[in-house]
């Protein structure tokens, strides 16, 4: 009896599930199944897919290089303004992506704060693939940082200290304690970060523009396809939906599972 959820909660919860599920079913129902292979192998789509993989791959790599140290610092180091830095690290998650795009233009665009110095170095980010990567890093890195910082904070530093007293060198605790215990969170954060980068739209079209082969990633392609080829847009949407679902499925099965049973 007590295991049955009260009706008062179950009804809106079911409604929430229906609400989340319905649009996705819409894509599945409307997808041009018989012509799906043809749609997805159209040169314009494969070009956008290739670019999306390239951009999201670079975004993940850069996020790892910059985000892992940032997460460690936020979790372990005590420095003034840490709360502010944490806010800054999360902000892109709650910022409208188009606002992120405008911010990137005003910061790194040709007329932006760093535009002059960058141009002197021969670097112009807007309208370039590098610009699309920058946009993706800006919006996706927080997912990695937050995920990893949470795990590091939850990990008792005494474990690392104990490992340090038992072995020589600073790498030992990292290898024998920190990495194994935060590995799942790192993987989960990296997967979410990559998926977010793959799906990035607003900051990309605002900051990097829309040019096939250079900055037109799959989400941008979907947006433009919808204007004169809705079936094509639905087919590509189905592909992105499948990728997103696959990421979550993998996370749930292999990575998030062990995390949930770990002690506080």
């Amino acid at each position: 009896m007590s295991r049955r959820p009260p009706l008062l909660l179950a009804l809106p919860a079911l409604l929430a599930v229906a609400f989340l599920l319905l649009p996705l079913l819409g894509i599945v129902a409307a997808a041009p199944w018989s012509a799906l292979a043809g749609r997805l192998t159209a040169p314009a789509v494969t070009e956008a897919l290739g670019l999306s993989l390239l951009v999201s791959g670079w975004a993940l790599l850069i996020s790892l290089l910059l985000g892992v140290p940032l997460a460690w610092l936020l979790a372990r180091a005590d420095f003034p303004g840490r709360a502010l830095v944490r806010c800054l690290a999360i902000l892109p998650m709650v910022l409208p992506p188009t606002v992120a795009g405008v911010a990137l233009l005003q910061g790194l665009g040709r007329r932006g704060l760093l535009g002059g110095p960058l141009e002197a170095l021969g670097v112009t980010l807007p309208f370039s693939t590098a610009g699309a990567v920058v946009a993706a890093v800006f919006v996706s890195m927080p997912f990695l940082v937050i995920s990893l910082e949470g795990a590091l904070t939850g990990l008792d530093p005494h474990f690392e200290e104990a490992a340090a007293t038992m072995g020589a060198g600073p790498l030992r605790p990292l290898r024998s304690v920190t990495l194994p215990m935060t590995g799942p969170a790192l993987t989960a954060g990296a997967a979410l970060c990559w998926a977010r980068a793959l799906g990035e739209f607003g900051a990309t079209i605002t900051f990097a523009g829309n040019l096939p082969g250079t900055t037109q990633t799959l989400p941008l392609k979907v947006y433009l396809l919808l204007q004169d080829d809705p079936a094509g847009a639905t087919a590509v949407s189905l592909l992105l939906l499948a990728i997103a679902a696959a990421v979550l499925f993998a996370l749930r099965g292999r990575w998030l599972g062990p995390l949930r049973t770990s002690p506080d």
């Binding site: 040709r110 007329r111 807007p126 523009g209 204007q227 004169d228 809705p230």
Partner: protein, 269 residues
């Protein structure tokens, strides 16, 4: 028409019913929600309040915002709400059944694509293209031919939208091969990129350049090389207020709006 309230005391049972009610309505019956403001439809003196949703090409943003205010003043009880986007995107929204009353596109082809969904369209304005550069024209663009310089940061509208198609036709007619740095989803995005100085040049409508004022420099395209864009307006068959929608379309033609057109850079049809 007032929204249905669950009967009974305002105690717990009522609250329980009130939670999913509106949600179900929003999920399953979007049309029913729109009916809420239906009361005045049919009154010719505008006694009831009606909201007209007008889907309009991005290039009309400024002149229509102004026109909407003029219309509302002349028609008490009517609120005009605009949704500005690329014409093709608006047409796609109409095809997908977006609840709207009037569609105004920047070319006749896009309007023709949704002919099944609209009443007879009327041409309400004409427009032309112009080259825009940031103030000071840093790349020294003086003609269409200059746009073919591969080193130039050129931004065009995407070929999916009318401004992009017009631009491509103009360039093709001159036998010019250009390499745009971006194909923006609507013409106002092109303008924005030029205003910000991210692009050295772009092709937009004369009206966009007019709206931007001193934020861009306009480099005219000679009449022989230019193109005339027709803007058709039509009431949508799916409108909840078909008469009001047609009234608005008729009003757009002569003469109240025409008075606004030249200031905005449009040509009267």
């Amino acid at each position: 028409m007032t929204p249905a309230r669950p009967p009974g005391r305002p105690g717990r049972p009522a609250r329980r019913a009130a939670v999913p009610g509106p949600l179900i309505a929003a999920l399953l019956l979007p049309a029913a929600v729109a009916c809420g403001s239906d009361g005045g439809d049919g009154d010719s003196d505008g006694g009831g309040s009606v909201t007209l949703t007008v889907l309009a090409a991005a290039s009309l943003t400024d002149v229509f915002t102004e026109a909407g205010e003029v219309y509302e003043e002349a028609h008490p009880g009517v609120t005009v709400r605009f949704s500005f986007a690329g014409s093709q995107e608006l047409a796609a929204q109409v095809t997908q059944g977006a609840p709207a009353d009037v569609l105004v596109t920047a070319d006749t082809r896009t309007m023709a694509d949704v002919a099944d969904e609209t009443a007879e369209p009327e041409i309400i304005a004409r427009n032309e293209l112009v080259i825009v550069t940031p103030p000071g024209n840093p790349a020294d663009v003086t003609s269409l031919a200059d746009l073919a310089d591969p080193g130039l940061r050129l931004v065009l509208a995407a070929p999916e939208v009318p401004a992009g198609r017009y631009g491509q036709r103009i360039l093709d007619a001159q036998g010019l091969e250009v390499t745009p740095d971006s194909q923006e989803p609507n013409v106002r995005a092109v303008l924005g990129k030029v205003e910000l100085g991210e692009a050295d040049a772009g092709l937009v409508y004369v009206t966009d350049a007019t709206a931007a004022g001193d934020d861009v420099r306009a480099v005219p395209i000679p009449a022989g090389q230019n193109i005339v864009a027709d803007y058709p307006a039509a009431a949508l068959n799916g409108s909840d207020h078909p008469e009001r929608a047609q009234e608005f379309v008729d009003w757009l033609a002569p003469p109240e709006v025409r008075a606004l057109l030249p200031d905005a850079g449009f040509r009267s049809p």
